[in-house]
Structures are given as C-alpha cells and as structure tokens.
C-alpha cells in the first residue's frame, strides 16, 4: 500500500517537474551549473572505476580462456563487449546513483528543511521544475558522454593489463577490439544510460523534495535515494535488456 502511495506521489512529482518550466534564461544558468556539478565533477571517478573495471575484465577473460584452441584476440573482444553492453552503462550508473543521487537528495532535502523551497513557492516559482528539471536535462545529456568515455577508458585499461602482464599482444588485443563490431550495441548502451540518468535524478529529487524534519531526515532521504535509485537501475536494466536485445 505504502509503495503504491509513493509511486503515485512520484508520478505527481514528475508532473510538477514538467509543468510550468522556469524562465529560459534562469534555466540556462542552472543547466550550466548542473553540467559542471553532475558531469565534469564525475569524470575523475568514472576514469578510475573504468580503468580498473576494464583491466579486471581482461585479466579474468585471459585467465579463464587459457586454452590454445581459443584465440588470444577473444580477450580484446570480450573486454569491449563487456564494457559496452554492461559494465560502462550499468556500473557507472550505479556509481553515479551513489555520487550524484545522494548529492541531489541532500541538496534538495536541505533546501526543504531550511524553507528555501517554501521561499521559491511563495515567490510564485514552481520549485520542482526550477530545481530538478535542469538536473534531469544535464544528466540525460552528460551521462551518455561519460559512458562513451568510460567504454574507451575501460578498454584502454584492459589493454594496459594485457600488455603489462605479457598475456596478450597489442596486435591480438586490437584485432579483438575491431572484431564483429556493431553500432547497435552502443545504441543499446546509450538508451540504457539515458533511462538510468532519468531514474537517478528524478528518484533522488523526489526523496529530497519530500523530506520532512531536520538534518537526520535529510541523511535518511539521501540514503533512500541511493538505495531506491540503485534498485530501479537494476530492474530497468533487466527490462531494457529484454526489450532491446532479445
């Protein structure tokens, strides 16, 4: 029952966000700020996670296919496919759910408990749209760029691990990278990324917006935002894979 009430409230919240958007000039300023906050500030963590993810995938494949009948270039192929299909879009989305999700929920939650949202409302501004819409648009635009970046960096990490351990030559690794490449896989990854970006910003915004109480509740909202965004990402991942790949 509580779940249904929350779902209804979440849908109403979405309605509020897209109803009566802020003035274009104000929106543009907020949007640029969010691009920096949600995009540029996440580059570091994306690079670190992707390099190690790619390296581990390549090492795992190399160790588990130690058979003379299996060609070495399969390591490059598996690393590329793993990064494109699953690791970059999903793992990066989960990391961003933790980083930007908690940031959004605590920022908006603090604004709620310190009456800043009430102040916006009294001025005749739609707070949901003013605060959350620039975040949604920024995330939906910047997260695909982060994921593309992650795919390249992760593949580079895989190559680095193979070359430094002398397990696969650069030639074999690159042969695998170019083998049987399909643009559709990247489209699939980007569609997932856009859906995940939307889920992270709206779910986190929702928990922040409906925070009641004080500092303790802001912390709780932040935790709920991360947990529920992550759960929804996993569920959406399954649904989208079913729809787009099968």
């Amino acid at each position: 029952m509580r779940l249904l009430v929350q779902l209804g409230q979440y849908l109403q919240f979405l309605g509020k966000i897209f109803h009566r958007p802020p003035r274009r000039k104000v929106f543009r300023n907020n949007f640029i700020t969010e691009l920096e906050s949600l995009g540029l500030n996440s580059v570091g963590i994306v690079v670190i996670i992707s390099v190690f993810m790619g390296a581990v995938v390549a090492l795992q494949v190399a160790y588990n296919t130690d058979n003379p009948l299996i060609p070495d270039y399969l390591v490059g192929y598996s690393t590329r496919q793993s990064m494109i299909l699953e690791f970059s879009p999903t793992i990066i989305a989960l990391i961003l759910a933790g980083k930007t999700g908690s940031n959004i929920a605590s920022e908006i939650g603090t604004m709620r408990v310190t009456e800043q949202i009430d102040a916006l409302e009294v001025m005749g501004i739609n707070p949901a749209s003013h605060l959350v819409l620039p975040k949604i648009i920024a995330s939906v635009l910047v997260n695909p760029i982060l994921v593309i970046f992650s795919i390249f960096v992760g593949t580079f990490g895989g190559w680095l691990a193979m070359v430094s351990t002398n397990m696969v030559s650069t030639h074999d690794f690159l042969t695998g990278i170019y083998l049987d490449y399909s643009n559709y896989d990247v489209v699939y990854a980007l569609v997932k990324t856009i859906v995940f970006a939307f889920l992270i910003t709206t779910i986190s915004g929702y928990y922040g917006y409906y925070t009641e109480g004080g500092a303790l509740e802001v912390g709780r909202s932040s935790t709920k935002a991360v947990v529920n965004s992550s759960i929804m990402i996993i569920i959406a991942n399954l649904v989208l894979t079913q729809i787009l790949l099968i």
Partner: protein, 251 residues
C-alpha cells in the same frame, strides 16, 4: 488589505484552525500573536498559499486567493514578499544573487538596472558592501536583513514575516522590528508579522490578533493589549518573570 474569513484547517484528526476571521490593514504592521502550537504559523502559511484551508476564503484587496487558478495565484504571489523564520536564503548564492533572484525571475530589467535595485535594497537594510558574501558568512541579524532586502526587491504589496526576530539578541531584534515598521510605512505595504515576542508586540503592534487554540481570542493594538486583554491573553503576556514583575508593579 487582506481579509481571511471562516478559515478552518485540520491535520488528520486534529483541528488546528477554527473559524478564523481576520483583517490586515494596508500600510500597517499587523501582528498575529499566540503561544507555540496555537496555529499562527499555519494561518500564515495558508495566507501565502503554502497550505490550503479546509474551508474559508482569503481576499487580497477583494481578489479571492483560494478561488484563483494556479496561474492567477502565481501572478498574485509576485506581489508578496516573505521573510522566513530562518531567512531561507539560497545557500549556493551570494547576498547579491539572493536579492536579485526575484528580479531575475519576474522583471524585464537589464542586469545593470537589477544591480542598482539590489544595491538600493541592501542600502535600505543597512547592508552596503555585503554583495559578495555567502549566506554562511553572515550573522543571524544580517541573514534577516538580507531576507528583508530580498522580500522588498520586487516592490511587494504584501509582506509576511514569520517570527522575524527569533534567535536574535534583543538589540538586533529591535533593529529588525524598526526596519519592518519603516518599510511598511514607507512603501504602504500590508505587513503581517507572526510573533510571540512581547517586545516586538509592544513596538510594532498597530493591529494585533491573538490566536488561542486555533481561534481568534482577542483583537486590538499595542495601546490596549496590556489593559483590555482576555484571561488567556493575560496568561500569554504575563508568563515570563519580567512581565510578571511589571504586572505586580502596575498593581
């Protein structure tokens, strides 16, 4: 003038406001006073549209706020300035950006015109040279003054102040009270102040409404409040050691 008639409000089973009929006059500092939990903050939130009443009407110069469509409400809200208890300044913005915010949202002024207006408002609240400070760098009194500057930036017709001097020392509270009265008279604003601070009441109270357990218990002004009150009002006024001593001295 603001007129609220037959306002009822309950939260779940609890009746918070019951048949509230009040009138707030133009160019005057109107006070809503009462104990904590008496319903005065709920009444103020209903007046500015943050809560919907269960029943009743609110007229802003004969314009029925409750019956308005959301777009009309938002237009009317642009005539409202509000000073929140904690200031409610936007943390991520400087003082200048905070005061400029309503102008950026609703006026067609150029940046230079807006800046001129911001400087004027900050000067009016005696805060010159604070433009580039962040809210976290301000004292409690400065926060309130910036919030007043933001509230008057758009030339409001109605100013609402929720406990404007809570958490301030008596001297700073006095400065804020004077500022509210001066601004009200200077711009002929209908000001509604929500307070339980008796110093403010005796200083600003041109028209006072006392709310007791969700009902209007007494109406009057600062001249009559000490002499012509109800038992409930007397109990509220003479509840501190200092006021008890004054009462004893008067007798």
């Amino acid at each position: 003038m603001i007129r609220a008639c037959n306002i009822y409000k309950s939260f779940r089973e609890q009746q918070v406001l019951e048949d509230i009929c009040v009138e707030f006059r133009s160019g005057k500092t109107n006070l809503i006073i009462g104990k904590s939990g008496s319903g005065k903050t709920v009444l103020m939130k209903i007046l500015v549209g943050l809560h919907d009443p269960d029943r009743g009407s609110i007229l802003f110069d004969d314009r029925d706020f409750i019956a308005m469509k959301p777009n009309e409400k938002n237009l009317l809200r642009q005539e409202i300035g509000m000073l929140f208890q904690g200031g409610a300044l936007f943390d991520s913005m400087t003082v200048e950006q905070n005061v400029m915010f309503p102008l950026a949202m609703f006026s067609n002024m150029s940046w230079e015109e807006r800046l001129e207006r911001v400087n004027f408002c900050l000067q009016r609240v005696n805060l010159e040279n604070a433009n580039k400070l962040m809210p976290s760098e301000l004292s409690g009194g400065m926060v309130k003054r910036v919030a007043i500057a933001r509230a008057i930036a758009n030339n409001p017709k109605y100013l609402f102040c929720d406990e404007p001097n809570s958490g301030l020392d008596p001297k700073t509270a006095d400065v804020i009270d004077h500022l509210i009265v001066e601004i009200t008279e200077e711009y002929n604003i209908t000001t509604v102040v929500n307070t339980h601070d008796m110093n403010s009441v005796l200083q600003m109270g041109e028209h006072i409404v006392y709310i007791h357990e969700g009902k209007v218990n007494w109406r009057g002004d600062k001249e009559t409040i000490l002499h012509e009150g109800t038992p409930e009002l007397d109990d509220f006024i003479f509840s501190t050691a200092l006021t008890k001593r004054i009462k004893k001295h008067k007798r």
